[in-house]
Amino acid sequence: MKNLRKWSRILHRDIGFFFIGTTLIYAISGIALNHLSDWNPNYSVENKNFTTEINLENNASVKNNILLLLDEVDNKENYKQHYYPNAQNLKIFLKGGSSIMVNVKNGTGRSEYLKKRLVFYEANYLHYNPNKIWMWFSDIFAGALILFSITSLFMIKGKKGVIGRGGIYLLLGIIIPILFLVYYL
């Protein structure tokens, strides 16, 4: 038992240190992605309204006119594509995911600029398993979490351990998800 306690502490401590960064990545992106209905966790969005005199009706010279508009409100180098969702509106796509919607009848428009959220964008990217290498690494991380759970049972002895206060926390942590399932499932 003494040996088990010793090795539980060693593994919990050393592997724990190794996975601090990964834990933070999943924790930060987990909170961010839990609240997708409330915000865009990858980009901050800035909207700007404008009016233009440029003719943006769907005709042969519209591409040139769009570039003129972009020089007014943004930068023509950012042009990517455009289309007309209906006879009244023109949508222009810009590099980096931003876009502009213009009412071609009255010249009013609205730009939507997307800016990557530092840390969140990168953490969310990893959270969604971008490729097989990361998938294997995150599987190892998940395995480490299981190991942390098991080793934590043996790390502390006495009234603060699993047969004392630790045991109460352990039961509470199991009862809460069970209650949730009983109520909602």
Binding site: L36, N40, K80, Q81, Y83, F93, K95, G97, Y128
Partner: protein, 172 residues
């Protein structure tokens, strides 16, 4: 010497087989590609019924990638739009790019039982706080629009068509 000649002959035979296989594969691919029908986005809804569970090709601009799942794309053109779904997440950087997609046409039938299920889900997600008042009301209107359409068309169901992603290429 005999051994060297034998090895060379065998190597040539293997290379020749591989080249033939490759040529055959390429020829097969070319025939397959040539056989995949192209549907313009403007005619997709009207013609998709003829291609249910079959592969078609479409082309348009990616208006947006679903921010929730990342597995749904709205593909648009001046003439129309369609949704493309996939099992893997799409790269959000596709937004605003002209893309040619190959995909399998999928039919979804909307009928009264489907509307009732949607209503139930809408009430449940709203009561659990998963949707706000605006989203709740928008969904209610959406369900009602299906019912209105069925009454107007004097039918017991509406067919909605989407494309299940197979492959894509960026159009320069």
């Amino acid at each position: 010497m005999k051994k060297i000649v034998f090895v060379l002959v065998m190597a040539l035979a293997v290379i020749s087989c591989k080249t033939d296989d490759k040529k055959a594969e390429e020829a097969k691919k070319t025939v397959e590609t040539a056989e995949i029908p192209f549907l313009a986005l403007g005619e997709f809804d009207a013609k998709a019924g003829e291609f249910v569970n079959k592969e078609v090709k479409v082309q348009g601009i990616v208006d947006h990638v679903c921010k929730h799942s990342g597995k749904k794309i709205l593909l648009v053109s001046d003439e129309g739009d369609i949704h493309i779904t996939a099992e893997e997440r799409f790269d959000a950087a596709l937004t605003g790019s002209e893309i040619a997609f190959n995909g399998i046409v999928v039919e979804e039938r909307i009928d009264e039982s489907y509307c009732l299920k949607m209503e139930e889900d809408n009430i449940k997600s709203h009561s659990e706080g998963a949707s706000n008042e605006e989203q709740f009301e928008a969904k209610k209107k959406h369900i009602q629009s299906y019912r209105d359409q069925m009454i107007a068309e004097n039918t017991d169901h509406i067919s909605l068509y989407t494309l299940k992603y197979v492959s894509h290429s960026v159009v320069e």
